[in-house]
Structures are given as structure tokens and as C-alpha cells.
Amino acid sequence: MNKFLEISQVGIDFPTPNGPFTALKDVNFTIDEGEFISIIGHSGCGKSTVLNIIAGLYQATYGGVILEGKEVNEPGPDRAVVFQSHALMPWLSVYQNVALGVEQVFKGQKTKPEMKEWVEHNLKLVKMDHAIDKMPHEISGGMKQRVGIARCLAMQPKVMLMDEPFGALDALTRANLQDSVMDIQKELNTTIVLITHDVDEAVLMSDKIVMMSNGPAAKVGEIVEIELERPRERVSLSKSDQFNHHRQQVLSFLYEKKGVVDFGEAKQKKLKPTVSENVANEKVS
């Protein structure tokens, strides 16, 4: 049976002065409709590259991405992205930022007042309806990310792709936003792919965690099914044995198995210097 979203034999080469560099190789996993999956791995292992390939922002060199039985290889609103840097247009208000997508995606399907209502509805969903006419520089980082999520939801994507969306936020704001995203996912049954390097976040939020080995030629190491009841509540879960068991699974993969950072290899890659490995390790531990 065809899965909803299938990542099949995906690999990518980046050209470098010393010949092509293989960042990913033979990446395989599938996602069911309404499923929440996280991709976790050490910094620079290529997890964001996987997301960019699903989004169509990068072209896979090998293999492909199949959404509802059709191969996708260019970006589109059916696979909308929430960026880590929120990526709101600083010259547009909160409302206009969301409307930018809505007006394009629903052109000819919705009337003007319907679009307005839809934008407002989505801002309400992320609890940002109070700041509808504010400019991005007037709201906090967490609020900006809420608007980023609203812009994404408003396009009614088949899959919502989130690229370390909470990475730049402080711990309390992050917890708040995680709860919001879980609530929204429960309400709308959205399919979500979340890139993260935070083990707690992955275990708390996902149905399935895809753990990636280190590059070069990174691939999927293990996939852990998280069998925790929803709705999940962070305080009570922190005492739960099952939660800690899953947490341990991920940690042991990252540190004891294939996920261990080999600094020599990481340096050879000469790819974009992401957050320094040390910082990422602190987050993971």
C-alpha cells in the first residue's frame, strides 16, 4: 500500500572545489497522514537538508519524495515550511504576512472576505489575533514564530515542515509553543515533520522519531515509535518511565551508536558551518 509521504532512496551531492560531496545517501522513511514525526541528529548531519528536499527547495541527486503517490521536486504550498528564523517579511504586518500566502494559494477559490476571515481564523488558532496589525519588529521572537506557524497553516498544507522552529527561543517560550503546536495538530490532524536537536522535544511531540547518523553520506540510523498517550502533558510525563525509556533510546543512539560525533569527519565536510558542535551537544545532553 502506498504511504502518504514517502522518502525513497534519497541522496544528495553538493559540488565543492574538491569534487562532489555526498551529504545524504539512501535516506528512507515513510509518514502516515496525520502523523507527527521528528528528525533528530547531530548538528550538520543533514537533517535540515532532508527537510529542504521534502520541501522541494533542494533537488535530490538520487531517489525522490512521493506525496500521495506523486513525485514532488519543486516547492509548493502543499508542503509549507516554518523556518527557524521565522522569515516574516519585515515590511508587512502580521496580517499581511499571513495574507501573502492565502491570497496566492486560494486565488479564485475564496472571495476577498472569505480570505480575510481565513487569515484571522488562523491567527486566532496560534493565539495571535490580538496583534493582527502589529509589525514583526514590534512583537517578540515567540510571537513571530506563532505568526510563521499561522502563515504555514493558512496555506492548508498536506504536510507541515518545521525546521528547528523553536531553536531560537528561550525555554519557557519554547514549551508554550510546543504545547500550542500539539493542540493545533490534535485539532486539525495535520501531518508534521519536525527537525530538532532537542531530545525532550522530539520525545514529547512525536509519534515517530527518525534518528540520523552522522555525515558524510548520512542516512537514517534508527526509527523509534513513541507510544505515549495523547494529549501529552510535560510535567507528568517527566516522571513517566515510558517517557524516560524513549528518551534513553534516543540518547543512546546519539552517543553510543552511529550518531557519535566524529569531529575529524565533521571538519572534512566543509559544509555550511552550522551551530558549533559543542553547543549542539549541550542541547542534546
Binding site: 516547492p75 509548493g76 523556518f83 522569515a87 517579511m89 519585515p90 515590511w91 496566492q104 519588529h137 496555506m155
Partner: protein, 332 residues
């Protein structure tokens, strides 16, 4: 309802007045004092050295002589205006009389053809530089956007930009003069040829800063914002209008400011040679005239040229403030 509005307006007004007085009071004395000191020092140095330089047209003018000539130029302007008014009055009377005698009489309305005053020449210069600048911007901004968006177009354009950018306006002028004479043939020309020659020379020379800065600005738009646009699938034109243009406004304006400054500098040279009746011609005519006051009058023009250049720069800055979305940006 209206009284409420009025109240709000009144309180707004009061608030702005309060802010204004506060701003004036809090103005650092140094911020006013030092520039004045600098100017006074310069004037003294100028006065002291000028009297030691003997030229074939007498001593080099000091600040006092230049100030006197500035007043003379104003007087000459007023005198010329009075003459013009008198001329029009006489003409009107004459025509009215003619019509009284014979309502069907053909009356003639002639334009006053006195000589151009210094202020007329300033106006001509301003018109010419703006015309050239607008032509240049109308070409440079779209072309710069194309260069910024497409690496291919940039690579194709870059050698041409690099080759033509350093060319002096004086090298272009003869070519432009010949081309305008050949192409712009009209019995009743709307533009003077000298005006077009100067304006096109200005345009050719002030094209480059805007072109280059726009290209760099467009090429450096935040990658995440471009990705948002790709995910939304904005059509090309909407993409340029809603993402590219607002994002590169600061760089475009930096280019425009450099362009207008270049254009203003080029204009004076172009007017000298093309005999466009502007400030350049004023300087040239005074030089050819060679009276004992000529150097002072040229010096007046030098100061005015500088002041106008400064004003034009501020003008673009004001325009940037109105257009830019980033009202918090410190513009200098």
C-alpha cells in the same frame, strides 16, 4: 464627535510642540558650536590666503568680495524681473487698446527675451540634472533588479558596467551632441538641444551607482524570505513587487544618492561645454568675460553648487524615509 477629534488634534499639536522644545533644549551646544567654529576658521584661512594670490584678473576674491557679488547677483535678478514685468504690462496695455479699436484684431503675445539671471540658471541646472537623473534611474533600477535576480544577466552585464563606469562625461559629450543633432530633428523642438546634450551626459554618468547598488541589494535578499516566496509560489512579478523591491529599498536609495551626487558634478562640466544655460554656462561665461568681479562671481557659483548638492542629497534621504518600510533605521 468633532470636538473629540479636535481635542485629539490639539493634544497632538501640544505634544509635538513639547517634543520640539525638548529637542531644541537638549541639543548639545557642541553640535552647533563646532560646525560654526569650523566654518569661521575656514573663512579666516580663505581670507588670509586669498589676498596673497595675484591673478591676471586681480586678487583672488576673499569672503567679503564673494558676499558682495552674491548681493549683486540678487539685485541683477530683481532688476531683470522688474524689466520683464514692465514689458508684459506694456504689451498687455497695447493689446487691450488694439482690441478696443477693433475686436477682431489679431493680437500678438511675445515672450520677454531678456538675459538669463543667476537664478534662472540655477533653475535650468536643476531641471537638467533631474531630467538626466530620472532617465538614469528608470534604466538603472529595472536593469539592476534583473542583474541581481539572474546570475547570467549579471555576468553578461558586468564587463560592460566595468568598462563604461569610469568614462569621463567629457568623453561622452561630443558623441551625445552629434547623436542628438542627428536624431532629434524637429521644427518646433520642445527641448533645447543643449538641454538634451547635458541631460543625456548626466544620465550616462549617473547610471552606474544605482545599477550596481540595486544589483547587490537584490542579490543579497535574505535567503529564507526568498524560500518563503518559492513555497508560496508567488508569480515572478508579484515576487519582485512584494519581496525583492521592499527588501532592497535601502540599497537602491544608497545608489540613488551616489547617482544624484555624480550627476550634479557631471552636469556643471556638461553645461560648460554644451552651452546649456545653467550654472556651468554661468561659470564659463564669467571666465570668458574676465572682469575684475568674475572670480568672485564664480566663487558664488561654487558655493551655490555645493549647497544645492547638499540639498539634493537631503531630498533623496527624505524620499527614502517616505518610501522605506523600516521607519526605525537610522539614515545618514
Amino acid at each position: 464627535m468633532t470636538t473629540q477629534v479636535n481635542n485629539i488634534e490639539v493634544s497632538n499639536f501640544e505634544a509635538t510642540m513639547q517634543k520640539l522644545t525638548k529637542a531644541v533644549l537638549s541639543l548639545d551646544a557642541k553640535a552647533v558650536l563646532y560646525p560654526i567654529l569650523g566654518i569661521v576658521f575656514f573663512l579666516m584661512l580663505w581670507g588670509a590666503t586669498a589676498s596673497r594670490i595675484d591673478t591676471s584678473l586681480g586678487k583672488f576674491p576673499g569672503p567679503t568680495q564673494v558676499y558682495e557679488q552674491a548681493l549683486v547677483l540678487v539685485d541683477e535678478h530683481n532688476a531683470e524681473r522688474t524689466k520683464a514685468d514692465a514689458f508684459y504690462e506694456r504689451q498687455e496695455k497695447r493689446n487691450a487698446k488694439k482690441l478696443e479699436k477693433n475686436p477682431d484684431a489679431k493680437i500678438k503675445v511675445r515672450k520677454y527675451t531678456g538675459k538669463e539671471t543667476f537664478f534662472d540658471q540655477i533653475l535650468t541646472s536643476l531641471k537638467t540634472v533631474m531630467f538626466g537623473f530620472i532617465i538614469a534611474s528608470a534604466i538603472a533600477i529595472p536593469l539592476g533588479i534583473a542583474c541581481g535576480l539572474s546570475d547570467g544577466i549579471y555576468k553578461a552585464m558586468n564587463p560592460l558596467i566595468q568598462i563604461f563606469k569610469p568614462v569621463s562625461p567629457l568623453a561622452w559629450l561630443p558623441l551625445i551632441t552629434m547623436v542628438v543633432s542627428a536624431v532629434y530633428v524637429s521644427d518646433d523642438p520642445y527641448f533645447e538641444k543643449s538641454f538634451l546634450n547635458s541631460a543625456f551626459t548626466v544620465a550616462l554618468c549617473c547610471l552606474w551607482p544605482t545599477l550596481i547598488n540595486t544589483a547587490v541589494g537584490v542579490a543579497n535578499v535574505d535567503k529564507d524570505l526568498l524560500n518563503v516566496s518559492r513555497v508560496i509560489k508567488l508569480p515572478a512579478l508579484t515576487h519582485v513587487r512584494k519581496i525583492i523591491l521592499p527588501a532592497s529599498v535601502p540599497m537602491i536609495f544608497t545608489g540613488l544618492r551616489l547617482s544624484l551626487a555624480t550627476g550634479w558634478m557631471v552636469l556643471i562640466a556638461a553645461e560648460m561645454l554644451s552651452q546649456n544655460p545653467g550654472l556651468g554656462k554661468f561659470v564659463w561665461d564669467e571666465f570668458q568675460n574676465g572682469s575684475s568681479n568674475s572670480l568672485s562671481r564664480i566663487m558664488v557659483a561654487v558655493v551655490v553648487i555645493g549647497l544645492i548638492g547638499f540639498a539634493l542629497d537631503r531630498l533623496i534621504l527624505v524620499a527614502q524615509k517616505m518610501v522605506s518600510w523600516d521607519k526605525l533605521a537610522v539614515l545618514r
